[in-house]
Amino acid sequence: MRANKAFLIIAHRLAILAYIAFALFPLFWLLKVAVTPNDLLYSEGIRLWPSRASLEHFDFVLRHSAFPVFFRNSLIVSGSTAVIVTILASLSGYALSRFRFRGKYWLVTLMLLTQMFPLVMLVAPIFKILSPLGLTNSLTGLVVVYTAFNVPFATFLMQSFFDGIPKDLEEAAMIDGATQFVAFRQIILPLTLPGIAATLGFVFTAAWSELLFSLMLISGNAQATFPVGLLSFVSKFSVDFGQMMAAGVLALIPACLFFLLIQRYLVQGLTAGAVKG
């Protein structure tokens, strides 16, 4: 009986280790190739770690390529999207959490539907609409599109955070003469700060990963976001794996930082989005 239990514990730990290995291996390999000097890349093909590691690829990518520009563009787009979406979603999430009003059912249904239908079918019409406005090949255009795509999900997320705060708080403030908006701004929002941080993190990650619309809307190098830059790099210099993977590691950094920020709220975020990756 005792041996049986020990066996179960060992099997459990081994299974967990197998999952961790599967989850981390691709990222490990990315890092490994990124630090492998070119002369060792082919001779030491599948060794787990090169006999000599160097940062030359990172050095090249940071100083002699356009990746710092792509990185900055992606930061601008994802950062602005995250801030604007969080502001809009705080307002609409608060309305869904606190008010009962005509049309609320339809608003919720509309927002749920936007999570279900294939966004890829909007690629062509959005290009046609933004083109005469000068918003193609522009970071502003991307921010507008990403903001709209992320508002519904962020609204549900913020609503779930507001639902967790007792109504009595702003009712007390309103009896003291504050308007509802003042109560919202000065009492409820500060209490929701962790939720606001989580929403910022979720939206930032989503905008940072978006691929199809940035490929369609952006063409020049100057306005390219990270995915656009990386993919054009892949097709142009398909031989320099070291540099590509060094660039890949760079793309991973903000995603990992934000992952740490939102880790505690993963469950809330995924259930609010329901269908969102």
Binding site: M116, V120, P125, M244, Q263, L270
Partner: protein, 311 residues
């Protein structure tokens, strides 16, 4: 608003007209910015896109734009690549959802009981979820590439492959590339949602069952599964829609090739719009996809009604 209701019994302090108008419009003011954005950036293009399906819209042809009726749909009925992409979509979605779910459920069960280092293990196994999809795609494409990746060499050494080649360029096997990447990327989603549902099961149920002499398998079948069933059903149904529309990995890893063997409907739409700049045809395919998804959703609703009426 909640306020007005509470004071209704006291007509003496009925608020002035301006205040009542302000109160009544408040929820609309709060939701207006989000709503306006959704309508202009999602609904208007959706309607426009539906109209494109019946028009000849090619970006590089300034004389295009005319109404062509059902021409795109007639072309679509003859388009072998489209029917192949339909079959591929079924295969891609079915394999991805099933394997993501199976591995995600096992992971959730493994993480359910407290053990030393659980928080760290959890953070590490959920990390792939945070990896941007384009990077996940590139990363796996590199792993499958015999020049820099170890996978072909390992498969060769294990005798699974006759020589270390890239499965992404093998028409028979190419679809497995994006599917494996999708599994890696999607396990955390299922694990996170199922783990949350698992932890909501009252613990004393298990104790009572073991006192009554139920074994681990019996406890799993008669307590865990029934409690998880609603979460499993809803996540699988929603995830199916999401994954069938999810083209990022395929576009990054194979671009639909070799010879359209990995083209799914969503990536086919994107290719028509992005590579061939044929917005009309792309919109026609999109309309068909939308109709199929609507039919699928309707089926779910009917199934749910039927199950409810049976109880």
């Amino acid at each position: 608003m909640a306020y007005a209701a509470r004071h209704e019994g006291l007509p003496a302090i009925r608020p002035p007209l301006m205040k009542r108008i302000a109160d009544a419009s408040a929820p609309y003011l709060y939701t207006a910015p989000a709503l306006i954005l959704i309508v202009t950036v999602m609904l208007v293009p959706l309607v426009l896109g539906i109209s494109y399906a019946f028009r000849d819209i090619q970006l590089l042809n300034p004389f295009s734009g005319g109404f062509v009726g059902l021409d795109h749909f007639r072309a679509l009925a003859q388009d072998q690549a489209f029917f192949r992409s339909l079959r591929n979509t079924l295969w891609w979605t079915g394999a991805s959802v099933f394997l993501q779910f199976a591995f995600g459920l096992i992971l959730a069960l493994l993480l359910d009981k407290p053990f030393h280092g659980r928080a760290v293990a959890q953070a590490l196994v959920f990390l792939p979820w945070a990896v941007p999809s384009f990077l996940a795609g590139l990363n796996w494409a590199w792993l499958f590439n015999p020049v820099v990746g170890p996978l072909p060499h390992w498969l060769f050494a294990m005798g699974i492959m006759s020589q270390p080649t890239n499965i992404l360029s093998d028409p028979q096997l190419a679809m497995w590339g994006p599917i494996v990447a999708n599994i890696w990327w999607g396990i955390p989603f299922f694990a996170i949602t199922l783990l949350a549902a698992l932890q909501a099961i009252p613990r004393d149920l298990y104790e009572a069952a073991s006192i009554d002499g139920a074994g681990p398998l019996q406890r799993f079948l008669s307590i865990t599964l029934p409690f998880l069933a609603p979460t499993i059903a809803i996540t699988i149904l929603l995830r199916t829609v999401w994954i069938s529309n999810f083209a990022d990995l395929i576009i990054v890893m194979t671009n639909g090739g070799p010879a359209d063997r990995t083209q799914i409907v969503a990536s086919y739409i994107f290719t028509q719009a992005f590579k061939r700049l044929d917005f009309g045809y792309a919109s026609a395919i999109a309309l068909v996809l939308l109709a199929l998804l609507l039919a699928y959703s309707l089926l779910i609703v009917i199934l749910r009604q039927w199950l409810l009426s049976k109880d």
